[in-house]
């Protein structure tokens, strides 16, 4: 990965870095417990202090588990042109993140992508194409 692409990736991730507005990552999430899931978005809460989106994930045993992931503050996202429509119920997404400290099925979604690799929280396709 080129340095430029890597820099873009980091900046793109900012849409879902919760520490930016409200509180510390360390207060709620455990950076020693990474999580990666693929699933279907079931609900989006575009609310303060941070957005949350919920993902149904099918386990190897066929059982469906619903995970909840935190993202950025709505105001900060919207000022960057990232509106509520950026993430749609029914979409398939891959979420890389970190689990909540309490061990529940909650976490911090640090990287959220569609199956074709597009970042969910980039402002728009044109913006992404520039990079």
């Amino acid at each position: 990965m080129s340095r430029w692409c890597f820099s873009f990736l980091l900046i793109a991730l900012l849409g879902s870095v919760p520490l930016l507005a409200h509180h510390s990552f360390a207060a709620e999430y455990d950076d020693t417990k990474p999580i990666k899931v693929v699933g279907t978005v079931t609900k989006v809460e575009w609310q303060n202090p941070h957005i949350w989106f919920y993902v149904d994930v099918k386990g190897e045993d066929g059982k469906i588990t619903n995970y909840a992931f935190s993202g950025g503050a709505p105001g900060q996202l919207m000022r960057r042109g990232i509106m509520k429509s950026a993430i749609q119920v029914g979409s398939t997404v891959t979420v890389d993140g970190f689990k909540a400290k309490d061990g529940s099925n909650n976490g911090f979604g640090s990287k959220v992508t569609y199956p074709d690799g597009r970042m969910v929280f980039t402002a728009n396709q044109d913006d992404q194409n520039k990079h």
Partner: protein
């Protein structure tokens, strides 16, 4: 590697959010003023700070914290007094103590002012009101020469009054509750930087050019420091943000994981 990525993300966040969001739109100068140094003025000739702005950002060369919020540069601190060591209070592991904002407690001043959100200034003859998007912090600053209020409880944002010194608006704030001074958590999660209840802050707002307010913040905390100390910042006008204005920020709306204890799922 995981920790490295997290740290890099923090730094990238700080850098990216410090960057201008887009091309600056020139702030309108008073009609008939052709000077390059013309600044907005009210009808009575005072500098006019009404507008929408980025939060105070670093001057070149300042030490930057690992946060999107602006933090104080420790090289500006005055020496600590004997007994002032409590300024760097250790974290205890109790999130209610270590990160009260996680429970929607206020950031207070000056930490809230330095948070990485938009802010809007409304100036009249007798007041400057600052509304900050973060926690919808509002500071109503009398400019009519009144003294500080007396016999009131110390507060998170203190008791401000402003006056003019030429083209500089000087805001002096007293009567603070002991609280955090900035977002230092992200730079060193083991320490708070706490001011005492003896803090007096002095802010100096002055137009540097038509798009930039020079903002100097002096911290006078005689329980902690041997003398007052100051840090300069810049506040950039962001007229393009006026299209959307400030967004609502009700922390209690959906604070799902206070202290890392999540509700549901």
């Amino acid at each position: 590697m995981k920790k490295l990525i997290v740290k890099i993300s923090f730094i990238a966040a700080a850098i990216a959010f410090a960057l201008p969001a887009g091309a600056q739109t020139a702030r309108s100068a008073p009609a008939g003023s052709g000077s390059a140094t013309a600044i907005p003025r009210t009808p009575d000739g005072k500098p006019d700070f009404t507008g929408i702005y980025q939060w105070p950002t670093y001057l070149p060369g300042a030490e930057r914290g690992h946060s999107s919020a602006t933090t104080f540069d420790r090289k500006n601190f005055a020496p600590l007094k004997s007994g002032g060591e409590a300024f760097l209070e250790p974290r205890t592991g109790d999130p209610r103590h270590d990160e009260p904002r996680d429970f929607c407690m206020p950031a207070g001043f000056p930490a809230g002012m330095l948070s990485a959100n938009a802010m809007q200034f409304f100036q009249t003859k007798n007041y400057l009101t600052i509304v900050h998007e973060f926690q919808r912090m509002s500071r109503i600053i009398p400019l009519d020469g009144r003294p500080h209020r007396k016999d009131i409880e110390p507060s998170y944002y203190g008791d401000p009054v402003g006056h003019w010194e030429g083209d500089t608006l000087v805001v002096v704030t007293t009567n603070f509750k002991r609280w955090m001074i900035d977002d230092y958590f992200y730079t060193n999660p083991k320490e708070f930087r706490m001011h005492s209840d003896a803090l007096t802050t002095t802010e100096r707002f002055q137009w540097k050019d038509k798009d930039t307010i020079s903002y100097q913040l002096t911290m006078d905390d005689p329980k902690i420091f041997t003398r007052p100390w100051s840090q300069g910042f810049e506040i950039k006008a962001k007229p393009e943000w006026d299209k959307t204005g400030l967004f609502e920020y009700v922390c209690e709306e959906n604070n799902r994981c206070p202290g890392g204890k999540c509700q549901g799922n």
